[in-house]
Symmetry: C2
């Protein structure tokens, strides 16, 4: 089988990491980069990626100049968390007749909160004979695909709980701000109110995927964002949290079928939870027949895994039938080692 | 979408359990049963399944009398562990133009030990426009699909270890004999030698699936079967194990790439391991970037889950492209609750 030619759209921390990963993979070829940052445009992609060699292609801010269906097999796009903000760019990719992997959190299941846009994307992908997938570690793997995979042998599922406890210490100022780290509890509450503390993006999408796959018939969801108030001093390169201040955001989703809670998603995100004796991990409990209790400790590494799953999904997307897909519609991606990216069977 | 019409072939403990599960599922309809036991043939299927009602179809020992492509969508076959023993029946199903789910352990990846038969099955399935899948909890889920799914976000995998510790207490005389439970260590060694203690069936198949999916390039496997000698008295309804006698079989597979072990599968199966302080569970360790440590405790329930995964896979098999498939070729099955069996998108 032939090599898959990939364009990376968006060369921020995630996008440039994915581009470097594509370069590492036998069977994948990085053929272009798109970004609007003036300091990147016109420079050699290898230079922008800081890999110590030229790639012979320059970063462009004009997608139309490189997105040709006979020259590109898949675009990986990493520009925003929101479907509505990514729509114009997704239309450009699909109309060019090119497959696409998006790590926008809402794209994991755009039906959840953007049903009209999802329908448009599905039609557009089918009309152009290509596949569009939203993925990432969460949503996309740790609190949805893995949950569903664990039910594969179940006769019955009465309720599901997934909990992901992670450490935000590696992240920079943007994440600190959107998670409310370093705020007073009052500032945090105000930030939740005005939307500046938006916490984790993706719970409605994970809930929709799980409910549809299992037939849980969730008809209503509730989300809460609560301050994790520290009792100790916590310090990272980007923030200092004094006792009594906010170390992070505990986000909870409850999924109801009628009056019954059939799905609980809990995601406390904070800096240095171990300073209060809290280990990190992914924990999934399936109530039903049989019951299943799973844990991954420490947690499935966040940013690293999002880059990995996006790149590992590329062969799955290229071989899939046309349309808008989620992670439950495709065979599970595998870490691509050796010549695995070539070993596809449809 | 329309209801999926299912025939159960083989009405032993596993087959009759799957047939009852099909009856429980909205979107699936049990339309026939095949078995050669004289005491079943000619009786109403509901009577044989002991469900307290008639199903209006009689159990037959003549597959040709009920396997018509316009009346049956999928056969679930539970007759043997071995591809060679199941070939004639699989040919019958495929030549009738009907999809098939097999729980024969070797069918999880027949390429592993029966490559010529696998090629024949793939051709036959494609020629008849149908899909054939081998599945079960192990092989099929706990030591292969779940391993691969956990690598979905990995940049690199250098080695994999999966360990499944289970309790054989629920099982009857056949399992006790094939696992060597209750033998002396000398009898166990002789049984391994002459093949009467065959332990777990499926390690070469799991290894093949993992190696192909990840590109681990395993070029040689070694298997060992060792006696688990009890230090305490262990008693179940079917067997008594005195101290110094064999409580079970510890099976190990090492997968080599050159001289390097890149895959280790360990499966100690015994009665009442907790009497020696050994808990049960599934444990998977992925070495690479990132590293992943997963545990499911207690273990993913064996017989229960095999029945579940076979039935939950039926919609996936019916909607798949034609050919021989394994669990990594298809989207992961989900527990079918509510109307989930209808909610398919291809």
């Amino acid at each position: 089988m032939s090599t898959i030619r990939v364009v990376q759209w968006g060369l921020g921390a995630m996008g440039s990491g994915m581009a470097r990963l594509v370069l590492d993979k036998e069977g994948l070829e990085l053929v272009g980069g798109i970004d609007t940052r003036p300091e990147y445009v016109g420079r050699d992609l290898g230079d922008v990626l800081d890999i110590g060699r030229s790639l012979g292609v320059t970063v462009t801010d004009d997608p139309g100049s490189i997105l040709r269906r006979d020259e590109v097999d898949c675009v990986v796009i990493a520009t925003t968390s929101w479907v509505s903000e990514q729509m114009a760019d997704l239309r450009t990719v699909l109309n060019a007749g090119i497959n696409c992997v998006s790590i926008a959190e809402e794209m994991a299941s755009p039906e959840a909160q953007n049903p009209e846009l999802a329908a448009e994307l599905d039609e557009l992908a089918k009309a152009n004979g290509v596949t569009l997938l939203g993925t990432g570690v969460n949503p996309g793997l740790s609190m949805d695909l893995l949950v569903v995979a664990l039910t594969a042998g179940c006769h019955q599922v009465t309720s599901v709980e997934a909990r992901r406890v992670n450490d935000l210490s590696p992240y920079g100022p943007t994440v600190m701000r959107t998670q409310g780290v370093g705020l007073t509890p009052e500032e945090f509450a105000a930030g939740v109110e005005d939307g500046s503390v938006d916490g984790h993006i993706g719970f409605p999408e994970s809930a929709r995927m799980i409910s549809d796959a299992l037939g849980l018939d969730i008809d209503r969801i509730e989300q809460r964002r609560e301050a994790i108030v520290s009792t100790v001093r916590r310090e990272t390169p980007h923030v200092v949290v004094e006792p009594g201040m906010v170390a992070g955001c505990k986000q909870t989703l409850l999924g109801y079928r009628g009056d019954e809670v059939v799905l609980t998603l809990v995601h406390p995100q904070q800096v240095l939870p171990e300073l209060e004796g809290q280990g990190t991990g992914d924990y999934i409990t399936i109530k039903g027949v049989p019951e299943i209790n799973m844990q991954i400790t420490p947690e499935y590494a966040g940013g690293t895994a999002t880059k990995g799953i996006a790149v590992n999904s590329i062969p799955r997307v290229v071989e899939a039938t046309p349309g808008l897909k989620n992670m439950l519609d495709l065979p599970v991606p595998a870490a691509l080692m050796g010549a695995a990216a070539y070993r596809r069977r449809v």
